[in-house]
Symmetry: C2
Subunit: 188 residues, 2 copies
Protein backbone atom coordinates (compact mmCIF):
# COMPACT_ATOMS: atom_id res chain seq x y z
CA UNK A 1 0.00 0.00 0.00
CA UNK A 2 1.01 3.61 -0.46
CA UNK A 3 3.19 5.13 2.22
CA UNK A 4 2.82 8.91 2.29
CA UNK A 5 5.18 11.42 3.88
CA UNK A 6 4.72 15.13 4.52
CA UNK A 7 7.11 17.09 2.26
CA UNK A 8 7.23 20.46 0.55
CA UNK A 9 7.57 19.61 -3.15
CA UNK A 10 10.03 21.70 -5.21
CA UNK A 11 8.47 25.01 -6.24
CA UNK A 12 5.67 24.69 -3.72
CA UNK A 13 5.19 26.60 -0.47
CA UNK A 14 3.05 24.11 1.45
CA UNK A 15 3.62 20.67 2.84
CA UNK A 16 1.93 17.98 0.75
CA UNK A 17 1.55 14.23 1.09
CA UNK A 18 4.13 12.58 -1.16
CA UNK A 19 4.20 8.82 -1.77
CA UNK A 20 7.55 7.44 -0.61
CA UNK A 21 7.27 4.59 -3.11
CA UNK A 22 6.27 6.28 -6.34
CA UNK A 23 6.65 10.04 -5.83
CA UNK A 24 3.00 10.82 -6.42
CA UNK A 25 1.97 14.13 -4.82
CA UNK A 26 -1.44 13.93 -3.22
CA UNK A 27 -2.69 17.53 -3.33
CA UNK A 28 -5.34 17.54 -0.68
CA UNK A 29 -7.84 20.18 -1.54
CA UNK A 30 -10.88 21.21 0.41
CA UNK A 31 -13.92 19.28 -0.64
CA UNK A 32 -17.36 20.49 -1.57
CA UNK A 33 -20.48 19.21 0.12
CA UNK A 34 -23.67 20.03 -1.73
CA UNK A 35 -27.13 19.56 -0.32
CA UNK A 36 -30.52 21.11 0.11
CA UNK A 37 -33.29 22.03 2.44
CA UNK A 38 -36.25 20.54 0.58
CA UNK A 39 -39.63 21.81 1.74
CA UNK A 40 -43.14 20.69 0.90
CA UNK A 41 -45.82 23.35 0.26
CA UNK A 42 -46.99 22.91 3.88
CA UNK A 43 -43.43 23.94 4.91
CA UNK A 44 -42.41 20.61 6.29
CA UNK A 45 -38.76 19.88 5.53
CA UNK A 46 -37.14 16.66 4.37
CA UNK A 47 -34.69 14.99 6.74
CA UNK A 48 -32.83 11.69 6.44
CA UNK A 49 -31.73 9.48 9.30
CA UNK A 50 -28.21 8.27 8.53
CA UNK A 51 -27.72 4.55 7.96
CA UNK A 52 -23.94 4.97 7.67
CA UNK A 53 -21.07 6.39 9.67
CA UNK A 54 -20.20 9.05 10.63
CA UNK A 55 -23.14 9.85 12.88
CA UNK A 56 -25.22 6.80 12.03
CA UNK A 57 -28.73 7.15 13.45
CA UNK A 58 -28.69 10.95 13.46
CA UNK A 59 -30.70 13.19 11.17
CA UNK A 60 -29.28 15.16 8.28
CA UNK A 61 -30.21 16.93 5.08
CA UNK A 62 -29.85 15.15 1.74
CA UNK A 63 -26.26 16.16 1.00
CA UNK A 64 -22.92 14.72 0.00
CA UNK A 65 -19.72 15.23 -1.95
CA UNK A 66 -20.00 17.04 -5.24
CA UNK A 67 -18.70 14.76 -7.99
CA UNK A 68 -16.35 15.73 -10.76
CA UNK A 69 -18.23 16.93 -13.85
CA UNK A 70 -21.44 18.04 -12.22
CA UNK A 71 -22.69 21.49 -11.34
CA UNK A 72 -23.72 22.39 -7.80
CA UNK A 73 -27.43 22.21 -8.67
CA UNK A 74 -26.92 18.83 -10.35
CA UNK A 75 -25.08 17.54 -7.29
CA UNK A 76 -27.86 18.69 -4.95
CA UNK A 77 -30.46 16.96 -7.13
CA UNK A 78 -28.40 13.74 -7.29
CA UNK A 79 -27.96 13.63 -3.53
CA UNK A 80 -31.70 14.12 -2.92
CA UNK A 81 -32.39 11.28 -5.33
CA UNK A 82 -29.74 8.97 -3.83
CA UNK A 83 -30.45 9.60 -0.17
CA UNK A 84 -34.16 10.34 -0.16
CA UNK A 85 -35.36 9.06 -3.55
CA UNK A 86 -36.79 12.54 -4.03
CA UNK A 87 -36.87 14.53 -7.24
CA UNK A 88 -36.29 18.15 -6.36
CA UNK A 89 -36.17 21.57 -7.97
CA UNK A 90 -33.37 23.75 -6.62
CA UNK A 91 -34.52 27.35 -6.18
CA UNK A 92 -31.16 28.89 -5.40
CA UNK A 93 -28.38 28.98 -2.85
CA UNK A 94 -29.58 29.32 0.74
CA UNK A 95 -26.29 29.03 2.61
CA UNK A 96 -22.54 28.61 2.11
CA UNK A 97 -20.56 27.32 5.07
CA UNK A 98 -16.81 26.87 5.60
CA UNK A 99 -15.91 23.98 7.87
CA UNK A 100 -12.18 24.68 7.97
CA UNK A 101 -11.47 22.04 10.61
CA UNK A 102 -12.21 19.28 8.12
CA UNK A 103 -11.46 21.13 4.88
CA UNK A 104 -15.03 21.39 3.68
CA UNK A 105 -17.12 23.98 1.94
CA UNK A 106 -20.83 23.32 2.07
CA UNK A 107 -23.24 24.79 -0.45
CA UNK A 108 -26.87 24.34 0.58
CA UNK A 109 -29.75 25.03 -1.78
CA UNK A 110 -33.33 25.90 -0.98
CA UNK A 111 -35.43 23.42 -2.93
CA UNK A 112 -38.91 22.12 -3.47
CA UNK A 113 -40.24 18.79 -4.67
CA UNK A 114 -40.53 18.33 -8.44
CA UNK A 115 -44.16 17.34 -7.82
CA UNK A 116 -45.00 19.61 -4.90
CA UNK A 117 -48.64 18.49 -4.64
CA UNK A 118 -47.56 14.89 -4.15
CA UNK A 119 -44.09 14.90 -2.56
CA UNK A 120 -42.51 11.50 -3.00
CA UNK A 121 -39.54 10.26 -1.02
CA UNK A 122 -38.19 7.08 0.52
CA UNK A 123 -35.01 5.93 2.21
CA UNK A 124 -32.10 5.47 -0.19
CA UNK A 125 -29.26 3.03 0.64
CA UNK A 126 -27.47 5.52 2.93
CA UNK A 127 -30.62 6.43 4.89
CA UNK A 128 -32.39 4.39 7.56
CA UNK A 129 -35.49 6.55 7.39
CA UNK A 130 -36.66 9.68 5.59
CA UNK A 131 -39.42 12.02 6.67
CA UNK A 132 -41.05 15.42 6.44
CA UNK A 133 -40.91 17.49 9.60
CA UNK A 134 -42.76 20.61 10.65
CA UNK A 135 -40.47 23.13 12.36
CA UNK A 136 -41.54 22.12 15.87
CA UNK A 137 -41.04 18.43 15.02
CA UNK A 138 -37.42 18.79 13.84
CA UNK A 139 -35.24 16.52 16.03
CA UNK A 140 -32.75 19.28 16.90
CA UNK A 141 -31.19 17.13 19.62
CA UNK A 142 -30.48 14.38 17.12
CA UNK A 143 -29.02 16.28 14.18
CA UNK A 144 -25.89 14.74 12.68
CA UNK A 145 -23.79 17.90 12.22
CA UNK A 146 -23.83 21.52 13.44
CA UNK A 147 -24.22 22.75 9.85
CA UNK A 148 -27.53 20.90 9.51
CA UNK A 149 -28.91 23.16 12.21
CA UNK A 150 -27.33 26.23 10.62
CA UNK A 151 -28.96 25.36 7.28
CA UNK A 152 -32.36 24.76 8.85
CA UNK A 153 -32.24 28.14 10.60
CA UNK A 154 -31.19 29.80 7.34
CA UNK A 155 -34.24 28.23 5.71
CA UNK A 156 -36.45 29.27 8.62
CA UNK A 157 -35.35 32.90 8.06
CA UNK A 158 -36.17 32.76 4.36
CA UNK A 159 -38.48 29.84 3.55
CA UNK A 160 -40.25 31.32 0.51
CA UNK A 161 -40.03 34.23 -1.88
CA UNK A 162 -36.87 35.73 -3.34
CA UNK A 163 -33.64 34.38 -1.94
CA UNK A 164 -31.37 36.85 -0.21
CA UNK A 165 -27.63 36.80 0.45
CA UNK A 166 -26.69 33.26 1.49
CA UNK A 167 -26.26 32.55 5.17
CA UNK A 168 -22.70 31.90 6.27
CA UNK A 169 -21.21 30.40 9.39
CA UNK A 170 -22.83 31.65 12.58
CA UNK A 171 -20.91 34.25 14.64
CA UNK A 172 -20.09 31.70 17.33
CA UNK A 173 -18.30 29.42 14.84
CA UNK A 174 -16.89 31.59 12.03
CA UNK A 175 -14.27 29.04 10.97
CA UNK A 176 -16.44 25.97 11.33
CA UNK A 177 -14.19 24.51 13.97
CA UNK A 178 -16.81 23.22 16.37
CA UNK A 179 -16.92 19.48 16.79
CA UNK A 180 -19.96 17.38 17.18
CA UNK A 181 -18.88 16.60 20.74
CA UNK A 182 -19.11 20.32 21.49
CA UNK A 183 -22.53 20.44 19.96
CA UNK A 184 -23.71 17.53 22.04
CA UNK A 185 -22.23 19.08 25.17
CA UNK A 186 -24.46 22.07 24.54
CA UNK A 187 -21.52 24.38 23.77
CA UNK A 188 -23.24 25.53 20.58
Amino acid sequence: MAEFRHQIPPGDTQERLVCAQCGFIDYQNPRIIVGSVVAAPDRRVLLCRRAIEPRRGFWTLPAGFLELGETLAEGAAREALEEAQARIVAEGILAVFSISRIGQVQVIFRAGFAEPDAPRFAAGPESAEVGLFAWDEVPFEELAFPSVRWALYAWRANPIGPLTAPAGNPPEDPRGEARIADLNAGAL
Copy 2:
Protein backbone atom coordinates in the same frame (compact mmCIF):
# COMPACT_ATOMS: atom_id res chain seq x y z
CA MET B 1 6.52 7.30 -10.86
CA ALA B 2 2.93 6.42 -10.16
CA GLU B 3 1.01 4.64 -12.89
CA PHE B 4 -2.70 5.19 -12.53
CA ARG B 5 -5.52 3.15 -14.06
CA HIS B 6 -9.22 3.84 -14.26
CA GLN B 7 -11.05 1.32 -12.07
CA ILE B 8 -14.23 1.14 -10.02
CA PRO B 9 -13.03 0.35 -6.48
CA PRO B 10 -15.03 -2.25 -4.49
CA GLY B 11 -18.13 -0.69 -2.97
CA ASP B 12 -17.93 2.39 -5.19
CA THR B 13 -20.12 3.29 -8.16
CA GLN B 14 -17.73 5.54 -10.08
CA GLU B 15 -14.49 5.00 -11.90
CA ARG B 16 -11.51 6.33 -9.94
CA LEU B 17 -7.81 6.58 -10.62
CA VAL B 18 -6.07 3.69 -8.84
CA CYS B 19 -2.29 3.39 -8.65
CA ALA B 20 -1.23 0.12 -10.28
CA GLN B 21 1.86 -0.03 -8.07
CA CYS B 22 0.57 0.69 -4.61
CA GLY B 23 -3.22 0.54 -4.74
CA PHE B 24 -3.73 4.18 -3.70
CA ILE B 25 -7.11 5.51 -4.83
CA ASP B 26 -6.90 9.07 -6.08
CA TYR B 27 -10.38 10.45 -5.49
CA GLN B 28 -10.53 13.38 -7.84
CA ASN B 29 -12.91 15.88 -6.40
CA PRO B 30 -14.03 19.16 -7.83
CA ARG B 31 -11.86 22.01 -6.68
CA ILE B 32 -12.80 25.33 -5.17
CA ILE B 33 -11.62 28.60 -6.62
CA VAL B 34 -12.07 31.55 -4.33
CA GLY B 35 -11.64 35.16 -5.35
CA SER B 36 -13.08 38.62 -5.15
CA VAL B 37 -14.16 41.70 -6.99
CA VAL B 38 -12.34 44.36 -4.99
CA ALA B 39 -13.59 47.88 -5.58
CA ALA B 40 -12.22 51.24 -4.46
CA PRO B 41 -14.66 53.88 -3.16
CA ASP B 42 -14.62 55.48 -6.64
CA ARG B 43 -15.92 52.12 -7.95
CA ARG B 44 -12.84 51.19 -9.87
CA VAL B 45 -12.18 47.44 -9.65
CA LEU B 46 -8.92 45.61 -9.11
CA LEU B 47 -7.65 43.43 -11.95
CA CYS B 48 -4.44 41.46 -12.30
CA ARG B 49 -2.64 40.66 -15.54
CA ARG B 50 -1.50 37.06 -15.35
CA ALA B 51 2.24 36.39 -15.34
CA ILE B 52 1.69 32.61 -15.45
CA GLU B 53 -0.07 30.05 -17.60
CA PRO B 54 -2.85 29.41 -18.31
CA ARG B 55 -3.81 32.62 -20.05
CA ARG B 56 -0.60 34.50 -19.36
CA GLY B 57 -0.97 38.17 -20.28
CA PHE B 58 -4.73 38.22 -19.82
CA TRP B 59 -6.60 39.98 -17.03
CA THR B 60 -8.25 38.27 -14.11
CA LEU B 61 -9.56 38.83 -10.59
CA PRO B 62 -7.40 38.01 -7.59
CA ALA B 63 -8.47 34.37 -7.18
CA GLY B 64 -7.05 30.89 -6.80
CA PHE B 65 -7.45 27.48 -5.19
CA LEU B 66 -8.82 27.39 -1.68
CA GLU B 67 -6.28 25.69 0.58
CA LEU B 68 -7.02 23.05 3.15
CA GLY B 69 -7.75 24.53 6.56
CA GLU B 70 -8.89 27.96 5.51
CA THR B 71 -12.37 29.41 5.23
CA LEU B 72 -13.65 30.90 1.98
CA ALA B 73 -13.20 34.47 3.26
CA GLU B 74 -9.67 33.66 4.43
CA GLY B 75 -8.84 32.20 1.02
CA ALA B 76 -10.15 35.26 -0.80
CA ALA B 77 -8.05 37.53 1.45
CA ARG B 78 -4.94 35.39 0.93
CA GLU B 79 -5.32 35.41 -2.84
CA ALA B 80 -5.72 39.21 -2.91
CA LEU B 81 -2.58 39.51 -0.82
CA GLU B 82 -0.60 37.03 -2.92
CA GLU B 83 -1.63 38.19 -6.36
CA ALA B 84 -2.21 41.90 -5.81
CA GLN B 85 -0.47 42.63 -2.50
CA ALA B 86 -3.79 44.08 -1.40
CA ARG B 87 -5.38 43.82 2.02
CA ILE B 88 -9.10 43.44 1.54
CA VAL B 89 -12.30 43.21 3.54
CA ALA B 90 -14.74 40.66 2.16
CA GLU B 91 -18.31 41.96 2.32
CA GLY B 92 -20.08 38.76 1.33
CA ILE B 93 -20.60 36.32 -1.50
CA LEU B 94 -21.33 37.97 -4.84
CA ALA B 95 -21.42 34.94 -7.13
CA VAL B 96 -21.10 31.15 -7.14
CA PHE B 97 -20.27 29.52 -10.45
CA SER B 98 -20.05 25.87 -11.50
CA ILE B 99 -17.49 25.19 -14.20
CA SER B 100 -18.34 21.52 -14.67
CA ARG B 101 -16.09 21.05 -17.71
CA ILE B 102 -13.01 21.42 -15.51
CA GLY B 103 -14.48 20.32 -12.17
CA GLN B 104 -14.43 23.72 -10.52
CA VAL B 105 -16.71 25.63 -8.23
CA GLN B 106 -15.91 29.32 -7.98
CA VAL B 107 -16.96 31.42 -5.01
CA ILE B 108 -16.50 35.14 -5.64
CA PHE B 109 -16.77 37.72 -2.88
CA ARG B 110 -17.57 41.39 -3.12
CA ALA B 111 -14.78 43.17 -1.29
CA GLY B 112 -13.26 46.53 -0.50
CA PHE B 113 -9.77 47.60 0.44
CA ALA B 114 -8.84 47.40 4.11
CA GLU B 115 -7.77 51.05 3.83
CA PRO B 116 -10.34 52.32 1.35
CA ASP B 117 -9.11 55.91 1.38
CA ALA B 118 -5.65 54.82 0.31
CA PRO B 119 -6.01 51.58 -1.67
CA ARG B 120 -2.65 49.87 -1.88
CA PHE B 121 -1.80 47.14 -4.33
CA ALA B 122 1.11 45.90 -6.42
CA ALA B 123 1.89 42.94 -8.61
CA GLY B 124 2.54 39.73 -6.67
CA PRO B 125 4.71 36.95 -8.14
CA GLU B 126 1.89 35.54 -10.29
CA SER B 127 0.88 38.92 -11.73
CA ALA B 128 2.65 40.98 -14.40
CA GLU B 129 0.65 44.09 -13.59
CA VAL B 130 -2.17 45.10 -11.27
CA GLY B 131 -4.51 48.04 -11.70
CA LEU B 132 -7.79 49.71 -10.84
CA PHE B 133 -10.24 50.02 -13.71
CA ALA B 134 -13.38 52.09 -14.12
CA TRP B 135 -16.18 50.08 -15.75
CA ASP B 136 -15.58 51.57 -19.20
CA GLU B 137 -11.85 50.86 -18.90
CA VAL B 138 -12.20 47.13 -18.14
CA PRO B 139 -10.33 45.18 -20.84
CA PHE B 140 -13.25 42.89 -21.64
CA GLU B 141 -11.53 41.63 -24.79
CA GLU B 142 -8.53 40.55 -22.76
CA LEU B 143 -10.10 38.78 -19.79
CA ALA B 144 -8.52 35.44 -18.89
CA PHE B 145 -11.69 33.41 -18.32
CA PRO B 146 -15.43 33.70 -19.03
CA SER B 147 -16.18 33.66 -15.31
CA VAL B 148 -14.16 36.85 -14.79
CA ARG B 149 -16.67 38.62 -17.01
CA TRP B 150 -19.59 36.92 -15.22
CA ALA B 151 -18.25 38.09 -11.86
CA LEU B 152 -17.70 41.65 -13.07
CA TYR B 153 -21.27 41.83 -14.37
CA ALA B 154 -22.57 40.43 -11.08
CA TRP B 155 -20.68 43.21 -9.30
CA ARG B 156 -21.98 45.80 -11.77
CA ALA B 157 -25.56 44.73 -10.89
CA ASN B 158 -24.93 45.07 -7.15
CA PRO B 159 -21.84 47.20 -6.45
CA ILE B 160 -22.86 48.60 -3.06
CA GLY B 161 -25.44 48.15 -0.35
CA PRO B 162 -26.89 44.86 0.88
CA LEU B 163 -25.85 41.80 -1.05
CA THR B 164 -28.60 39.83 -2.72
CA ALA B 165 -28.78 36.19 -3.82
CA PRO B 166 -25.45 35.31 -5.42
CA ALA B 167 -25.23 35.33 -9.19
CA GLY B 168 -24.87 31.93 -10.78
CA ASN B 169 -23.83 30.80 -14.23
CA PRO B 170 -25.39 32.84 -17.02
CA PRO B 171 -28.29 31.26 -18.96
CA GLU B 172 -26.12 30.72 -22.04
CA ASP B 173 -23.65 28.57 -20.09
CA PRO B 174 -25.51 26.88 -17.22
CA ARG B 175 -22.97 24.07 -16.81
CA GLY B 176 -19.87 26.18 -17.29
CA GLU B 177 -18.85 24.24 -20.36
CA ALA B 178 -17.76 27.11 -22.57
CA ARG B 179 -14.12 27.17 -23.43
CA ILE B 180 -11.91 30.20 -23.72
CA ALA B 181 -11.66 29.54 -27.46
CA ASP B 182 -15.42 29.98 -27.70
CA LEU B 183 -15.18 33.21 -25.76
CA ASN B 184 -12.47 34.52 -28.06
CA ALA B 185 -14.44 33.49 -31.12
CA GLY B 186 -17.27 35.69 -29.87
CA ALA B 187 -19.58 32.74 -29.17
CA LEU B 188 -20.30 34.10 -25.72
